[in-house]
């Protein structure tokens, strides 16, 4: 292969990004894997290489296993539901008609608020002495509900809260995708007497494939790194039932001063997330093939 030489100017232009990326992305990835093989506590000047001990210890760490299962469950639900509702709203709000812009904005705006700030609002709504309970007690003959104190209810509220912030993103991606579909397709379908469901199945859904790939991947990767929402809403509780992977890594790595073991957990998370993302992206991109 003939190697093309970069001129001095071009090299100087590319260099800052490359140096920063290598220092703050590539190096940390390498270090995380390396620390995983050590018994370092993060403070002392020396450490030993302990082999795969940290990596195998993860399999018997019931808290870590739980956080993997919970985060996967959470990510799958969030990915499916945000895309489902995002798609429904996009189809409903695609046509230009009166009020559509207002509806789009109302669904989109929650995305702009920081998950931390929004978390406090949801907590004020669903706490034991929160606003929803004050309301329920007033109008119904029941006692206040422990929304955030019961594991299943707390998970449900966390999912609703996350959807509230994510659906708008999917909706916008799908609206952009819908606008690339030529109106001729719909006209042809209408002439053939296709029902709306048939149009959806044979035109809308297949032609939205590139949007689906983007929206699914963004939702999945962002749900796998979820931290601020459960932190504020439930603090990982009740009894650790809403602890995500990020919770585990920090509790072990920073709070318990086990940087070696924390890094091994982080490496597992890195592997799981990367493999799943690559697999999802591969499967979804296959659906796009017919467009080319």
């Amino acid at each position: 292969m003939n190697q093309e030489k970069l001129g001095i100017q071009k090299s100087l232009m590319a260099l800052p990004s490359i140096v920063i990326y290598l220092t703050f992305m590539a190096l940390p990835i390498g270090l995380t894997v390396y620390y995983g093989f050590t018994n370092w506590n993060g403070i002392s000047p020396t450490w030993d290489i302990v082999g795969f001990k940290n990596f195998t210890r993860a399999f018997t760490d019931s808290k870590f296993i739980y956080s993997v299962r919970f985060t996967l469950f959470f990510s799958v639900i969030i990915t499916l539901l945000s895309n489902l509702f995002g798609l429904i709203f996009a189809v409903a709000l695609n046509k230009r008609r009166r009020g559509v812009n207002l509806f789009r904005s109302l669904i989109f705006i929650p995305l702009l608020i920081s998950p931390i700030a929004a978390g406090f609002v949801w907590k004020a709504l669903f706490s034991y002495d929160g606003i929803i309970n004050q309301f329920l007690v007033k109008i119904l003959p029941i006692e206040a509900v422990m929304f955030l104190g019961k594991p299943n209810l707390a998970k449900m509220i966390l999912i609703l809260f996350t959807l509230w912030q994510n659906v708008g993103f999917c909706m916008v991606i799908y609206i952009a995708g819908l606008q690339t579909i030529s109106p001729e397709f719909y006209d042809a379908a209408a002439i053939d007497g296709a029902s709306f469901l048939q149009q959806f199945k044979y035109i809308i859904f297949p032609y939205l494939a590139p949007s689906t790939t983007s929206a699914v991947l963004v939702m999945f990767t962002s749900a796998m790194r979820e931290y601020p929402r459960p932190l504020v809403l439930t603090a990982g509780g009740p009894v650790g039932q809403t602890e995500t992977l990020a919770f585990r890594i920090f509790k072990v790595g920073f709070d318990a001063n086990q940087l070696g073991y924390g890094s091994a957990l982080a490496t597992w998370v890195l592997l799981i997330t990367s493999l799943l993302s690559v697999a999802i992206s591969y499967l979804l991109r296959k659906r796009e093939a017919f467009l080319k």
């Binding site: 990004s17 590539a26 708008g168 932190l231």
Partner: protein, 276 residues
């Protein structure tokens, strides 16, 4: 029949819209009410009892000053964004206009990895690197991390746009004696404004709302809007008046920006997400 369907459509969409807007409505009106009023009627508005007291009391307390929080966040967002946009648009130009360099190809693959890894997985190591560079608990440390983190996303968005600019443009400039840097400055950068807008909007939102990285990398002394309210309110607070006032204060700049730039906002978001 058609009439009823239209009516049904508007009823359903209004209900959904109201549902999405409900938490924002609650926050906005209760930011201007005293605690007793919030508890008595969280939904109601009584104009005569609206007050700025909560905003003043909680926005300017000894432990949290909203002006400091805005200032710190704006410095971090602005410097991160300037770095990201300038550096990655240059990189994207070099990458797209250099097709046969194996180091650049290798770097391209390395960047793909950066798109899928979760930030929490490398944060422990970033702390160690910043400690060694003497940049832990500084603005610079966080800003450099932000730039590094968004390099893949932003470079891919820019490469998508640079591709659409005809190579003949820069070749003719080259024949006129312009160097690569001049071609980038005078021709490429002005033509990729939509990509810059896209990167700007995404990264603005992400950096402004980021919690994890500033929490760990800035330490106890410096706070951004998200860290500031997290510490001021605390995990077990039930001071609803404080919560609504502070959430209102930290969210208002982003909401105002959205209202002003609404058109660019959605266009920028979708262009970025579909190309990236």
């Amino acid at each position: 029949m058609r009439k009823y369907r239209t009516l049904l459509y508007y009823i359903v969409m209004s209900l959904i819209g109201l549902l999405f807007f409900f938490p924002i409505y609650i926050t906005t009106i209760n930011a201007f009410k005293v605690k007793a009023d919030i508890i008595r009627s969280p939904l109601g508005i009584k104009l005569s009892s609206l007050t700025l007291d909560n905003l003043k009391l909680y926005g300017f307390s000894p432990s949290f000053n909203i002006i400091t929080a805005y200032f710190n966040t704006i410095v971090i967002v602005a410097l991160s964004l300037i770095g990201i946009i300038i550096l990655t648009s240059m990189l994207a130009y070099v990458m797209d206009r250099t097709t046969k360099n194996r180091w650049l190809k290798l770097f391209y693959l390395l960047m793909l990895a950066g798109l899928i890894i979760p930030p929490e997985a490398i944060l422990l190591s970033i702390v160690q690197i910043l400690k060694n560079l003497g940049l832990m608990f500084t603005f610079s440390g966080l800003i450099l991390r932000n730039i590094g983190w968004y390099i893949p996303f932003s470079t891919f968005v820019f490469v998508g746009y640079v591709k659409t600019i005809s190579k003949e443009l820069d070749e003719s400039a080259f024949l006129d004696g312009a160097g690569s840097f001049k071609i980038y400055m005078k021709i490429i950068f002005p033509l990729i404004k939509p990509a810059s807008a896209s990167v700007f909007i995404f990264c603005f939102l992400w950096v402004w709302n980021d919690f994890l990285n500033p929490l760990i990398l800035l330490g106890d002394k410096i706070y951004t809007v998200t860290i500031g309210i997290y510490r001021a309110i605390g995990q077990y607070s039930t001071a609803w008046d404080q919560i609504f006032a502070l959430v209102f204060l930290v969210s208002i700049p982003v909401l105002l920006m959205y209202l002003v730039m609404q058109k660019y906002f959605i266009a920028g978001l979708t262009a970025g997400a579909v190309k990236g």
